[in-house]
């Protein structure tokens, strides 16, 4: 069997691998930037997990991690 037999299938498989890996890296990177940006925006508005106002209200929220 020649070395280049079915090369199109091999290239397609590695292209699929590259797409999946790049998509996963892009997903976690962009999501991280988005969450950091939203948290920074909320803190600019005076909200933080340690602010006095929020500490009073935090009884209502049980899923704080």
């Amino acid at each position: 069997m020649p070395a280049t037999a079915h090369i199109d299938f091999i290239v397609a498989a590695y292209a699929a691998g590259l797409i999946v890996i790049v998509a996963l890296i892009a997903w976690v990177t962009l999501d991280y930037r988005l969450q950091r940006r939203i948290l920074a925006e909320l803190e600019r508005q005076g909200l933080s997990r340690r602010s006095t106002t929020l500490r009073d209200a935090s009884q209502a929220v049980r899923e704080d991690v």
Partner: protein, 242 residues
């Protein structure tokens, strides 16, 4: 730092921020070496050059199953020990597992067409792998459907534990049924049947994929913690305003 201390999300974030760049760098280096060895690997006497597809297919299949096994442990952590990070990690892991299982199915089809003459057969191994992919999609859908995070976590944990039944079915499907898919050839009693010239790059690729998975899992778990903090702040903001 002890592992138990990572149960605290703030400590986990600090550890993840330190570890992710190093793990990412190690992943790139290991992938470069593994791909170099994979490209130098000789053709198989039966499969020819298409054996190179196995360097993607086999690690992604292993990771698809490993990820569900980790999610099962996390599900026990949610239901039994009520570990504060268990459902966070499980939620972060599901899209990763789905992606690797999809890659396994796609690369398997691309290998099957030249070797078997078809992209797909309803063979026990292929069908049980497809079921695993559908289970991943179900878990992701369940997280998005149930608004209350703690209720969603319990429902997902139960589905994950029930779904774990598919793991031994995938593993032993080639022994229990007469399948077109080949039997175990790497981890089996009596040792591997693969020549070291192909086995070594295969294991290197598996190690690189595993390192990539660990890095992505840490990063996705960190994102999920931040997302929950955002949600908490917004709820508190709404509560304070009301």
């Amino acid at each position: 730092m002890r592992v138990a201390e990572l149960a605290n999300p703030s400590r986990f974030l600090r550890a993840a921020n330190l570890a992710i760049p190093w793990l990412g760098g190690a992943t790139v280096l290991l992938f470069a070496f593994a791909l170099y060895r994979a490209m130098l690997a000789p053709d198989d006497y039966q499969q020819g050059a298409t054996v190179k597809i196995m360097f993607l297919h086999v690690p992604s299949a292993w990771l698809g199953m490993l990820c569900w096994a980790l999610m099962t442990v996390a599900a026990l952590g949610t239901l039994v020990w009520r570990h504060p990070l268990a459902d966070v990690a499980a939620k972060a892991a599901a899209p990763l597992g789905a992606a690797f299982t999809l890659l396994c199915l796609v690369t398997g089809s691309l290998w099957g067409r030249p070797e078997w003459g078809t992209y797909w057969v309803w063979d026990a191994r292929l069908t049980s792998e497809l079921i695993l992919f559908l289970l991943y999609l179900s878990v992701i859908a369940l997280w998005r459907t149930v608004e209350d995070a703690s209720r969603a976590a319990r429902a997902v944990a139960i589905l994950t534990i029930v779904g774990a039944i598919d793991l031994p079915i995938i593993k032993f499907s080639v022994d229990w049924w007469n399948t077109l898919h080949q039997g175990a050839s790497v981890f089996r009693l009596g040792g591997s049947t693969i020549h070291p010239a192909i086995l070594v790059p295969l294991l290197l690729m598996a190690a690189a994929f595993t390192l990539l998975f660990m890095t992505l899992l840490l990063a996705a778990t960190r994102n999920e913690i931040l997302r929950r903090r955002v949600r908490t702040l917004r709820l508190l903001q709404a509560s304070a305003a009301g």
